[in-house]
């Protein structure tokens, strides 16, 4: 018997899975493509959910938005699980070294008592907003009906948990890890007038049923106003109070928001561009919720940066929405 490897037996008989080939042609596919397209069940579901008997599992009618094909919404970052955790592992490494640096040099505990108090009152309570964002994105990941959409929200859910944990660790640096500062900070969230419009907004969002409406309100509208206000304007303001070191501990959030706009912008553009019906639906949600997000942030802006800073972020959001053909209140920048 002679061993002879014939080239024909080494050459592939196809380049990718059939579902991928139907979309992109039979050519070598990327890992993002093979992991993200058409792997979710679409039809022939066996039982109606006891928790929603009017609909099936994976039912497209869990949102008022209509898409011919939800896989039209894709991730410009091309994150599948492996790419996602790889990216975040790098970001957390940087964050970890910043936290270690601040801890080692007591950069926070050296700050005046009053500044420490401001951090606990004005920054740390955002950890609760993050937990709300975490819950909302987990719900969306469970309801969305295409992997390209569902996975972006799952990644957002775990990101927001992580961000809430970084914010909590700022308080733990301040109180020497006793938890005392976190308890104090939570009383602001629960009782301080400054936080009540925001807490009401977050609780109201927790009862939004339509998953796309929820994604719009959370990931576009609230984040679109809050992140630039808090992590850019308020960060600069804290610097003016002598607390520029806090900036090291929120770098993750700044990088994160910059990155997350890529997928949120792409998503809203695709969905609004699908049909007039979608655009009108989105517009009515924007009209309803954008002013509420603005109002919820107003007391925080007034207590820190001043209202102008919030109006600037409002104009930035307005410009983002405009690219998707949506109008919002806000002075054009």
């Amino acid at each position: 018997m002679t061993i002879e490897i014939k080239t024909t037996s080494v050459e592939p008989i196809r380049n990718t899975y059939s579902a991928i080939a139907r979309r992109f042609g039979d050519k070598p596919a990327t890992r993002y493509q093979e992991a993200s397209f058409d792997i979710e069940a679409k039809t022939n579901f066996h039982y109606r959910p006891l928790w929603d008997p009017k609909r099936t599992l994976n039912d497209p009618s869990r949102t008022a938005i209509r898409m011919e094909d939800w896989y039209a919404v894709t991730d410009p970052r091309q994150f599948f699980y492996g790419a996602y955790v790889g990216n975040r592992a790098k970001m957390q490494e940087a964050a970890e070294s910043n936290f270690a640096f601040c801890d080692k040099r007591n950069l926070l505990t050296r700050l005046p008592e009053e500044t420490q108090h401001q951090i606990l009152r004005l920054l740390v309570p955002l950890r609760h907003v993050e937990l709300g964002a975490n819950m909302n994105n987990s719900k969306i990941a469970g309801d969305a009906i295409a992997t390209t959409v569902a996975q972006m929200h799952m990644f957002a859910a775990t990101d927001r948990l992580g961000i809430g944990q970084y914010l909590s660790r700022i308080a733990l640096l301040l109180d020497g890890s006793t938890g005392k500062a976190l308890d104090e900070s939570k009383t602001f969230w629960m009782d301080d007038e400054l936080w009540q419009p925001m807490r009401k907004l977050v609780e109201d969002m927790l009862v939004i049923d339509d998953w796309f409406e929820l994604s719009l309100v959370q990931n576009l509208l609230l984040d679109g106003l809050m992140y630039p206000l808090v992590y850019e304007r308020m960060d600069a303001w804290l610097g003016e109070q002598g607390a520029e070191d806090v900036s090291l501990l929120t770098e993750f959030q700044r990088d994160w928001f910059k990155e997350s706009q890529r997928w949120t912008n792409a998503m809203i553009k695709t969905v609004a561009g699908e049909s007039d019906g979608n655009r009108e639906q989105l517009q009515s949600w924007v009209t309803q919720w954008e002013p509420r997000a603005y109002e919820a942030l107003k007391p925080i802006a007034q207590a820190t940066t001043g209202l102008d800073a919030l109006d600037e972020t409002r104009a930035e959001l307005s410009a983002r929405l405009k690219k998707a053909g949506l109008e919002s209140t806000g002075v054009q920048a």
Partner: protein
Amino acid sequence: MAIKNKKLNLKDKYQYLTRDMAWEPTYQKKEDIYPDERFEGIKITDWSQWEDPFRLTMDAYWKYQAEKEKKLYAIFDAFAQNNGHQNISDARYVNSLKLFLSGVSPLEYAAFQGYARVGRQFSGAGARVACQMQAIDELRHSQTQQHAMSHYNKHFNGLHDAAHQHDRIWFLSVPKSFFDDARSAGPFEFLTAISFSFEYVLTNLLFVPFMSGAAYNGDMATVTFGFSAQSDEARHMTLGLEVIKFILEQHEDNVPIIQRWIDKWFWRGFRLLSLVGMMMDYMLPNKVMSWAEAWEVYYEQNGGALFKDLERYGIRPPKYQDVANAAKNHVSHQAWSTFYQYSQATNFHTWMPEEEEMAWLSEKYPETFDKYYRARFEHWDKEHKEGRRFYNNTLPQLCQVCQIPVIFTEKDDPTVFSHRQIKHEGERYHFCSDGCCDIFKNEPEKYIQAWLPVHQIYQGNCGGADVATVVEKYYHINPGVDNMEYHGSPDHQRWLDIKGLKPLKSNSEKKSAA
């Protein structure tokens, strides 16, 4: 406040960094925020009693998981670049991967969806966070499996359209209906079904012996993703046990509900695993352990220790456990007989075991194989060699609950098929066992909805009236290429070619590429 920082212990740190971020809502009612927490009748009096099953903050999660992924993808790359598929024991082995990708990987995805949902549902933040981490892990598994199989799909047939087939092919409704059942239940039943009954009690039977089998058959890609996935599974199993203990400790009224769910989900899981039994005994050319041995170690021994531990809550071992234990010597043979006969409608090849494989089966199943199965297999083998490969062209009667054809036999008499039927609202329903019949009787309004593939074909909902059309057009199975007898198939020809052995026919290579 300038106190010297001290290192937090894991437990305290974790509480501050997870459930302490939650608060008691005042602007919205708790029951509106968590509307699904009560309808199942489970009583939770105090979520703060929840013990976190593992304490992994997101930063540590990202770090460890990225490390795992880096290792895993380095191996996938090396496997593809070196044409690792040529080093497997035998191409018959690849058929177990076809079954895995179409039967198991879609379940990983369904688990992702289910956990993302319950990861929002519970009013206890500790439980939510644990469920969410499992959700993203399950997404990981479904995706790494696509990537692990990607190279095999380029070199073998039958792996090309797994998710499409999972929604349609008759026997794939067995795994699909299992997960649909869990996902359509309430959040506590979902966790009892998947975290406890499946992950904790039964999943070892799927992953551990099967992945060891992959290792033994030279499949580096599968063994690597399998074990890498299992490292997440250890967390999921801990969650499964914690969930059960927590619910049982919360209120005594929960005990009978949980017992009913354990009975149900043990039985559904046991039936689902007959497919795994068949993979282990018949589809792995190099064998690690028999299905019966795996059942003894991973169910009888481990499950026994577990249920002894749960006795203190008033929980007993699952009903019909005795039937399942007795069936360990039969299920794999009965399942393989069925798939052999219906191979014209599967997405993988079947074959009769070779002589030394029959000898192994005789040795592993001294009380059953020679007595009940060998003669039938030798007959089919002889028929095949004489040019009459047996295919059964009738459509089988499916069980209304597990959706497996009624092929299993009575516990006390392996020559008699186990078949139960009842009338419900004027309609007659068929079952494979008392276990499945009981499940139906507890929730008839759920199981009458089942999408039974055979009924659906008869009703014309599967793209055609005859099986050949359904298989080709609706299932996307390429007849004779993806399925039917292994010997003489394009996969077989290609394998002989790879190994430098003389092909049986010369043109088949071209045919398979066309």
